[in-house]
Symmetry: C2
Subunit: 144 residues, 2 copies
Amino acid sequence: MVDILHKIRIHAPQEKVFESLTSQAGLAGWWTQDVKAQARLDAEIHFGFDAGKTVMRFRISELSPPDRVSWRCLDGDSQWKGTLIVFQLSQDGGSTVVHFAQQDWAQATSMFMHCNTKWAYFLLSLKSYCENGVGTPHPDDLKL
Amino acid sequence: MVDILHKIRIHAPQEKVFESLTSQAGLAGWWTQDVKAQARLDAEIHFGFDAGKTVMRFRISELSPPDRVSWRCLDGDSQWKGTLIVFQLSQDGGSTVVHFAQQDWAQATSMFMHCNTKWAYFLLSLKSYCENGVGTPHPDDLKL
């Protein structure tokens, strides 16, 4: 098993970052505009890509405001199915540090490498969205 | 041992990408402006950060134009020392695919997570430099 692991510093309050990771408007602002989400433990959340051709479904498996949220992937991509996405937040002075993980990939495939780079791209989008109000969510994302 | 692994597509000829990974002007265009490099097997190359407070030294351990270059880290950071950085290029239609690795980290520390995100940032800088002539090399990089 291998994990995607990132760390990024965001100059915004922890509550703002947490809200951006859990509300429909927040998630639409940095990951994908095609999202159905609610901030409730055990809720299903859906993220669409490529005009709905791909839909990633997750279940919210942890919801501990304003520190931690995690999602278990139910389906959408064979390599993503079963992986666990975790956002762990902490305050450091005036900024918020995000430790991100997508745990339990079966192998470090070329798709894993692509997704690792793309997660960094979307975390930079999250940073920009929280700091300036403007992210680069799909379908406006750079194709890598 | 854990590896940082990325993949990115660049809309530029493979020779242009390879030149950007091996020449002094190329490396200064996307990673750090403070660089001493030459494209010769076994040569030492130096990359400075934070006004010279940190200097990363590498030895070029593979140089196979236009497909592959690798550097072994000699010193500069205790967690980087001994790691191997590999850029593997391939042509795919009109674009170049870069598989990047920094191999043989002892552990997936918080520094590993930071560097993983930061490598993606600099690979996006490499992409922009090769495609548009403008990267975001240190010290003009975003602090993450």
